[in-house]
């Protein structure tokens, strides 16, 4: 039978649905309009049936659920085996995963089992006139964009970077079918999760912030980092960095934007002292409004910015911080008066 | 992909060596560090140690002394890359040369302690004292002498321009045996501990090459022991001269690296600097400079590698090293000068390193063989070579 259906791997851990799944469902709705095929969310785990509602509301026509104690935590072999069985049984045409560490671990294992093609880290997906999925992804750190297709093998598997596609408003009136698949799953006792240490939970992460202040090599010496942190604080923004600042050990990979870092999509980003090499821009180019400050006006980042200013950031940053603080105290004064 | 390295018979291992030297430089210091070192007139001890730990400081030393057997080509490639990356006359050439001379001419007992310290710290606490105020190029004109007075050996004399001389614990000197006059051709090499009474160390200030501090030594009635003598009595200078040729090869590799660094900087600068509304790379006079600079660098490199190859194949390189040093003196001073000119005003400040390259390259165009002496050597060989 010919392969049919758009599948989304519904990534959950500890019973919490990852936001990226909803992003994929949103994109799938777009693809559905061209393909006219059903969207199925594939949900694996233990005691996770409560998640099916949200999946349907976000766009799934069906949710295939495999609920088994052996799947309580993610381990590669059991998960990949289940997906293999399901794929062979249902023969989907497209199978989307988020390019999270979860997806990047699971998707290639599954793809190898199925002997099909997998395109990683896609930035966009389209259906061409032959009904085939066109997968657009960056390579060479984002300097070259590739359009890839998997003409024959099925399913056409793809991992998509989180934070690229928007999460659409859920439709609470949407109805869908939940299919409980009873598959015999064997836990992998030779893969044992012995410890999990979450990062110190911060209220504001790079991905959740509306306003990001990003600094690059232009910040100069380590003693200048203080002024950047002050600025971020004064603006209630999250501070992000380019790769070189992680390489010298001033920041963690969690703070980094770029091809080997995070992809972000804030409302506003303020770039300070960043040249705009492609491996950086590929991580933030979907930002709504881009403001860039650099002492050299010949930089790639200016060309893609909405607002650009030529200044020495070492003197500009304190000025901006000063004005932000003055503004905050004025606002606070006003509030006091109103009270 | 064919690389011209294959033309020069450079092996894959040698290529990896060059890559490793570059990595060592990138990991161990920046241009800012070099500027700091020049201000202090010294390279920090950790850098010496790291160079030896990485094995580069052991190249060419005999294996019994803990060294790594390496041919001329390897040493030349390593020095060239070091200088190109560092952009300053580094002292390793001197330490490696001194250790080489020491292990060549000294017995195990004489050299054990120094070699041990070198392997541990990378600092060769010995130096070579050859030149004198009245005897630079004219080595025969030296008047330092060791006289037998009763049953004692007494040294009197004055050596100058001793590279790295200020902190040395030991010194290898060449001195005449018994008779200080010009006609006496008998010299000996002596390994002298610098804490002997009668030795005065007077630092000298140079206009460049700040990482290799110079000083003068004054020897007044210094009492020596026979066991300080290295090698045979009377053969001192002859022994040293054999190493001059390798020294010349290595010095040329050094200077080529410096000149190449100048080219790296200048040829990149022409795309960054604009005058009269255009990047200066668009001006023909600048283009001509770059062309001439590149030709000289490629020529010098070819000549250098060829000479190293000849040395490795045990050919007589007296003529080749003389021609090489002569050409190197000219070519590297011209290239660094052109680079300075391209930078213009800012090149004259310490904001760029081209001024340092200019003065450091100029120094080694005098040291280890002036062009005039090279003419003296090569000019007498050539007629014999072409005699019909």
């Amino acid at each position: 039978m010919t392969a049919q259906g758009i599948w989304i791997f519904a990534e959950q851990s500890n019973g919490i649905q990852d936001k990226s799944t909803y992003e994929l469902l949103g994109k799938a709705l777009e693809l559905k309009e061209q393909l006219n095929e059903e969207i199925t969310a594939v949900l694996l785990g233990y005691g996770i049936q409560g998640l099916t509602e949200q999946l349907i509301q976000h766009g799934a026509d069906k949710v295939i659920v495999v609920d088994d104690p052996a799947l309580a935590q993610y381990t590669p072999l059991p998960y990949a085996k289940v997906l293999e069985e399901l794929s062979i049984k249902y023969q989907p045409s497209i199978f989307l995963f988020a390019a999270t560490s979860f997806g990047r671990d699971l998707a290639p294992r599954t793809m190898a089992k199925l002997g099909t093609g997998l395109t990683a880290d896609c930035l966009d997906l389209e259906i061409n006139e032959d009904g085939i999925l066109e997968q657009i992804k960056p390579s060479f750190g984002g300097n070259i964009m590739c359009k890839i297709i998997i003409p024959e093998a099925r399913p056409q598997m793809v991992t998509v970077r989180p934070n690229i596609f928007p999460v659409l408003e859920p439709n609470i009136n949407r109805r869908g079918e939940v299919i409980i698949e009873e598959i015999a799953v064997e836990a992998d006792f030779n893969y044992e999760i012995i410890e999990e240490l979450p990062l110190v939970e911060e209220e504001l992460t790079l991905e959740s912030a509306d306003f990001l202040v990003a600094i690059g090599r232009g910040i100069g010496k380590e003693q200048n980092l203080g002024m950047a942190k002050d600025l971020a604080d004064a603006a209630s923004a999250k501070l992000a960095v380019t790769r070189p600042l992680v390489d010298v050990g001033w920041f963690n990979a969690a703070d980094q934007i770029g091809a080997s870092g995070k992809t972000v999509k804030p409302k506003v980003i303020l770039n300070l002292g960043i040249s705009g090499a492609v491996h950086y821009t590929v991580g933030m180019q979907s930002t709504n409004l881009i403001i860039s400050v650099n002492n050299n006006q010949d930089n790639a980042l200016f060309k893609m910015s909405d607002y650009a200013a030529v200044a020495d950031i070492k003197t500009f940053i304190p000025e901006l911080t000063k004005q932000l603080k003055q503004r905050t105290s004025k606002v606070e004064e006003k509030e006091l008066v109103l009270v | 992909m064919i690389s011209s390295y294959e033309y020069y018979h450079i092996t894959e291992e040698q290529e990896l060596m060059v890559e490793s030297v570059r990595e060592w430089c990138e990991r161990n210091f920046t241009e800012e560090d070099v500027k700091e070192w020049c201000k202090n007139h010294r390279v920090p001890n950790e850098i010496y140690k790291s160079w030896t730990e990485a094995g580069f400081g052991l190249l060419g030393l005999p294996e019994e002394a803990g060294g790594i057997t390496a041919d001329s080509m390897t040493q030349v490639l390593v020095l060239e890359e070091l200088q190109r990356c560092a952009g300053v006359q580094m002292p390793f050439l001197i330490t490696m040369q001194c250790m080489n001379d020491l292990t060549h001419f000294g017995t195990k007992e004489q050299t054990e302690e120094i070699v041990h310290k070198y392997l541990k710290t990378g600092s060769a606490n010995i130096v070579l004292a050859l030149s004198e105020p009245n005897a630079g190029s004219d080595s025969q004109g030296m008047s330092s002498v060791v006289k037998q007075v009763g049953d004692k050996l007494i040294l009197n004399g004055n050596k100058c321009w001793i590279s790295n001389g200020t902190d040395a614990e030991y010194c290898i000197i060449v001195a005449k045996d018994d008779d200080p006059t010009r006609t006496n051709k008998s010299h000996s090499l002596w390994l002298i501990p610098m804490n002997l009474p009668g030795i005065d160390i007077v630092p000298a200030e140079k206009i460049g090459t700040h990482l290799i501090p110079f000083c003068d030594y004054y020897f007044t009635d210094v009492e020596l022991k026979e066991e300080y003598r290295l090698g045979e009595k009377g053969k001192g200078f002859y022994n040293l001269m054999k190493n001059f040729e390798t020294e010349r090869l290595n010095v040329c590799a050094n200077n080529l690296g410096l000149a190449q660094a100048a080219m790296d900087d200048a040829a990149a600068y022409v795309s960054q600097r604009s005058t009269f509304g255009k990047e200066i790379k668009n001006y023909q006079l600048i283009q001509e400079k770059l062309v001439r600079m590149e030709i000289k660098l490629q020529n010098l490199r070819s000549l250098l590698y060829k000479t190293a190859w000849e040395n490795d194949h045990r050919m007589d390189v007296r003529l080749s090293t003389a021609l090489l040093k002569h050409y190197c003196n000219e070519a590297t001073t011209e290239v660094t000068d052109d680079a300075l000119q391209i930078f213009g005003g800012i090149g004259y400040t310490k904001d760029t390193r081209v001024g340092r390259l200019w003065v450091d390259a100029r120094g080694m165009a005098i040291g280890a063989g002036t062009s005039e002496v090279m003419v003296h050597i090569a000019g007498r060989i050539l007629p014999k070579l072409y005699e019909k």
Binding site: P108, D121, F140, I150, D210 | -
Partner: protein, 261 residues
């Protein structure tokens, strides 16, 4: 312990452009180096060998110049190099590449640990490791930021988005490495000299018994349909002017309009 490291040779810079005439990537004058993430893999393999004993083999699939990458790995401290080179392997996607590498590792035999870098800086896929693991039917652990051995098990700390996870896995296992794992050593002069005596074995697809339908272009379900330069938003940039004070004021205005402050 027998360790295999899979490495890839990539261009020295990612700053490549498309040649408008050929519509292909302009590789002129670009040097090849070992994929930076694979360097961490090599380093970890050597470190484990030094700590626990064993030998490290390094494998690469590619054209003849892949030899240079292997030489570098040997100079760093690996013991044996394998170059899988064959015209028929050209045009391979990740499935075909993973298959080929797996066949080579099968031939090397009795492997305890396989290391792969987390992604290649040119293709950026990060799939090869898990695919190789699948074809060899062994376990996989990805994004390793720390590794220890415990008898017949590997204790691997994984670096995930929201934190770290420690996993105990029974050998044999395939591990993909991250930059945070270690600092790759540079090859010392001694190590380079010693590597001159180390062997590099060259295999073609038949030596490793590859099914010709599963290698190269033939064995590749995905194909690159086209490549093009990224589209950047150009034009419409508003250049702010004036003193620092004035420009800061203007920026604050924009931020207020956007309601982010």
């Amino acid at each position: 312990m027998k360790i295999v490291v899979c490495i890839k040779q990539v261009p020295d810079t990612v700053d490549v452009k498309i040649n408008p005439k050929t519509n292909n990537i302009d590789r002129n004058g670009i040097k090849s180096v070992i994929n930076p993430f694979d360097m961490n893999a090599i380093e970890e393999a050597i470190r484990l060998k030094e700590t626990y004993g064993g030998e490290v083999s390094v494998v690469t699939m590619g054209p003849p110049q892949g030899r240079k990458a292997l030489k570098k790995a040997l100079a760093m401290g690996c013991d044996h190099g394998y170059l899988i080179s064959d015209g028929a392997l050209g045009g391979a996607d990740t499935l075909a590449t993973g298959y080929t590498l797996a066949k080579a590792i099968e031939k090397i035999g009795e492997v305890d640990l396989i290391f792969c870098g987390r992604q290649a800086v040119d293709a950026d896929t990060g799939q090869t490791g898990p695919i190789v693991a699948e074809f060899l039917d062994i376990r996989q652990v990805t994004f390793a930021s720390e590794i220890e051995m415990d008898g017949a098990h590997a204790i691997v700390t994984r670096l995930l988005e929201k934190g770290t996870q420690k996993v105990k896995v029974k050998l044999p296992v395939m591990i993909t490495t991250t930059k945070e794992l270690n600092e790759p050593r540079f090859a010392t002069a001694m190590s380079i000299m010693q590597s001159a005596k180390k062997e590099i074995t060259v295999w073609n697809s038949q030596n490793i018994e590859c099914d010709p339908n599963r290698i190269g272009l033939k064995g590749s379900p995905s194909q690159v349909q086209s490549i093009f330069p990224p589209k950047h938003k150009t034009g419409n940039t508003v250049y702010l002017e004036g003193s620092n004070e004035e420009m800061a004021q203007q920026i604050i205005q924009v931020l207020e309009e956007q309601k982010v402050i």
